[in-house]
Amino acid sequence: MNKIQRIGLGLFIIGFLVWIATLTMGKFTLTDQVLKDNLKPEHYEQLHSSLAPMLNKTYDTPFGFNKDLSHTIEQVNEGYKVQNQMDKVINDSYAFALTKAASHGYIRDSNLLLFWASIGLSIVGALIYILAGLRKLPGNKNDNIYHNPATSRGWVGIIIGTFLILFYIVIYFFPQYIVNWTLLVDPLSRVLSGTPAGQWFLYGTLYTLAILVMGVRMLIKYRHNRYQQVRTVSVMFFQLSFAFIIAEILISLSLPYYDFKNMWPLDYDFFFEWHLDSLTSSGQLGLFMLVWGIALFTIGVPLFTYLYGKRWYCSWVCGCGGLAETLGDPYRQLSDKSLKAWKVERYMVYGVLVFVVVMTAMVLYTYFTGQSNIGPISSYSVRSIYGFWIGALFSGVVGVGFYPLMGNRVWCRYGCPLAAYIGIVQRFKSRFRITTNGGQCISCGNCSTYCEMGIDVRWYAQRGQDVVRASCVGCGICSAVCPRGVLNLENAEPGSRVMIAPEVLMGNDMPVIKTQARTTGSQN
């Protein structure tokens, strides 16, 4: 690490620590006005007398505030349960809204300053660290990755993984404790959508910043490789515009939140009735969103996957893929390449695909018939099980939290139903393949090591067979790290994919005994 990098890293860490420290700043005071503004009128009536002891009392942390708040609401609910007035039980979660509305003090007054002193400073530090990479000559720079505790499941990696896991748990399940972080991005949220920031705006901002900053890292690391550069600019663009700015502007126009590049079944609640209702009640644009969302996965996926392979979505457009390819790039080598992992992967990813299809069928059944139960099973409980286990735990907590431990594509490889679906198209009907260059492979293993999807690329390369795999997201890193120019991502006639290894590799003129059959994916 050179001097400039040390300065960059130092600034990043200072910014990060300030950001953590902001969680302890600010005060929380519940007032009658806050209750009126944030509770449903009937809940205000039910709660305001019980919450009276809390009113105008100032708490120093969101923890104390929420302890009293949740305790009070629980007691009220207990009372209803004892009196068997189940219809009066309050199930709405007011923790985040009340905590945010009750907050005041330094952090609220100086949120813009603190934003720059924390997140802003971290961005500047990270960029300085990254730009220092320009001092190296262009070329593959994977030196010491397995000597570095951050990128080889060492202590730094474990700390980062732990932080990410905690972050996801808090964002999904305890947002009331990170109200202060949402205060930091309130000014940005007001500019974009005209509303104060919720936890998902905070998440979207950090997500986008991670893709942008680490995207710059990719652009510099691979400045000798235009495929990587174009692809990285693509994911940066789609995240910044489609997923972030356009989606927020829609909110400011009182239109439904919509990410035009996301699609079912990754976007698993697309067919939930609240979503269908919000689209169908939003005029022509809403109807367009509905048709667009359906066309993307019914026409877009087969068409583009046939032409360019799975990569058109997974490593060029998708937000999860975008994060994996930028923030996750330093961890790509940690994916498991074993045969066993491949077997687990297949059961899991296609299992989730079946799950999401069944769940969506039940949801639509409920939508059209109005009946919540199909036999003994309620479609509401099925969707909440999916939302919790797959939507929150798998794609978020495990999917990103485990980057530094299991590689950057844990979710995409083992859990994403959309990746599973696109993968089936890629495997059986696509022009895409990774070709191997005759007999040049020296079995060094760089390709397999740096395959984020855990494909044993070398197994194909050393036997002269094209890599045609459902899981390949076409990131192109195998081709980039190959020291002998063996691998190339190509599109051509589907029938020309070499699906069976040639009996004799190029460069060996011994006679062929068996006649070779070239087989296409669709015939297999």
Binding site: G139, Y146, Y227, S443, G445, Q462, V481, N488, M510
Partner: protein, 445 residues
């Protein structure tokens, strides 16, 4: 069912074992003292540089061997009793064989330099060499590499990755110029210097001197009297077949183990393949001892066929090879020899950035292409191989240059520039570029 013993678990021995298993039910035992499992020796440098761990360099998972009934034995062989068909192992009971395949590889050359046995002087060939290097280079300031070949450049890259200063002694006036023609050699020489390597041309090693301890390397002296302080010396002046344990046996050896075109030695049921084999009649355009990854693989495949009943001659096709000099990839196909033969003409193009180049050699008169050299540019093996076999004319080859291109999508394409350069170098037979430009290059140009 015969017991086939393969001595050596490199690419040659393992390829033989895999193919014998494919074609037969023989009992197969692979012996190596180096490592228990097959690994890619070409990837040793990446382990040192932290790109990969040892596990990543194993092309087959550990369960592969049991599943394919290939027995692995980690042991050193001290002697072979050919008349008894028996291998004498160090510290273990002897092992008998019905058929023996010798795939024992090479060892680094040493030229009796004074001080060559000091601690911190080594070559790089085996896993043990890597372990030694890890120890000897820990925390040192400067290493000296003797020899300007492929391993020398790899070693330089390895040391640089650990922040160790590197002096590279090259006997010739330009890097690897007995293999690379002048322009390519100059290009690579510049690239080596760009990486702040202290490259000393026209220098040879005279002696290695100890430090104050008397046991470790302290400095080296060149033949023209310069002293260079260093804590590590790498000898990368080629390798030779590792046949010491075969001396004074009935097995005929010269530089390597002598084999005929079926890879048979002078002894019945004994074969030799890979680096250690010396061909009595080398195939056309091939050396008698050729230490290349894929020739070892081809020999393994060939011997497997012979042993399994279909006697097959060793027939490597059109020559090819590849390497990487720091950030510049190098591929070669066919014959690009130094010096240029009298009946051959050459066309060389180099990009103005000095990091990309293409050479095509062709026969005078017919114009038939005989060889390609590419630097910083990937070529398609299948197309180069076919064009050379067909005797495709240089004009035709250049007209279809787009077919030979193997760089990734969006990479800058050089076909037009190359054809233009060729046209301006010729008084007649001007080439027109054929084939369609890719969609994206049309979009961006």
């Amino acid at each position: 069912m015969k017991h086939i013993v393969i001595l050596g678990n490199g690419i040659s021995g393992i390829t033989a074992a895999r193919h014998i298993r494919k074609h037969s039910n023989h009992r197969i035992t692979v012996i190596s003292g180096e490592t228990e499992h097959f690994f890619s020796r070409t990837a040793l440098m990446y382990i040192y540089m932290g790109h990969m761990k040892y596990e990543h360099t194993k092309p087959y998972e550990d369960h592969f061997w049991g599943k394919n009934r290939i027995e692995l034995k980690k042991a050193w062989v001290s002697r072979i009793e050919f008349d008894k068909k028996e291998l004498v192992l160090v510290g273990e009971a002897p092992l008998t064989y019905d058929i023996l395949i010798l795939a024992v590889g090479s060892e680094p050359n040493r030229f009796s330099w004074p001080g060559q046995d000091l601690e911190g002087v080594q070559g790089l060939y085996s896993y043990q060499d890597l372990e030694k290097m890890e120890v000897y280079t820990h925390g040192i300031k400067r290493g000296v590499i003797v020899g300007g070949g492929l391993i020398g450049v790899e070693m330089a890259e390895m040391l640089l990755s650990r922040g160790i200063e590197v002096t590279l002694l090259v006997r010739e006036e330009s890097y690897w110029n007995h293999v690379l023609p002048t322009e390519e050699s100059a290009l690579v020489t510049r690239h080596i210097q760009e990486h702040s390597i202290d490259l000393r041309l026209n220098r040879e090693l005279a002696e290695i001197r100890p430090d104050s301890s008397g046991k470790k390397v302290g400095s080296i002296v060149t033949t023209n009297g310069e002293t260079i302080e260093c804590q590590f010396v790498c000898l990368s002046v080629g390798v030779h077949p590792f046949i010491r344990i075969l001396a004074d046996t009935a097995l005929e050896t010269d530089r390597g183990i002598l084999v005929n075109e079926y890879l048979e030695t002078n002894l019945p049921d004994v074969y030799a393949i890979g680096d250690c084999a010396q061909h009595r009649q080398p195939p056309a355009g091939r050396k008698a001892v050729e230490q290349i990854w894929y020739t070892g693989r081809i020999m393994g495949e060939t011997v497997a066929r012979t042993i399994c009943g279909s006697r097959t001659t060793y027939t490597p096709g059109i020559f090819f090879n590849s390497a990487k000099f720091f950030d510049i990839e190098y591929q070669t196909y066919g014959e690009v020899t130094v010096p240029l033969p009298d009946d051959t003409d050459t066309f060389y193009w180099e990009h103005s950035n000095g990091r990309v180049a293409l050479r095509i050699n062709y026969k005078k008169g017919s114009g038939a292409v005989v060889g390609f050299n590419a630097l910083g540019l990937r070529l398609r093996h299948e197309v180069c191989d076919r064009w050379i076999k067909e005797g495709r004319s240089i004009n035709d080859a250049l007209a279809h240059l787009r077919e030979v291109h193997f760089d990734p999508e969006f990479f800058r394409r050089y076909e037009e520039e190359i054809v233009q350069a060729y046209n301006s170098s010729q008084s007649e037979h001007v080439v027109l570029q054929r084939g369609k430009k890719s969609f994206f290059s049309r979009l961006f140009s």
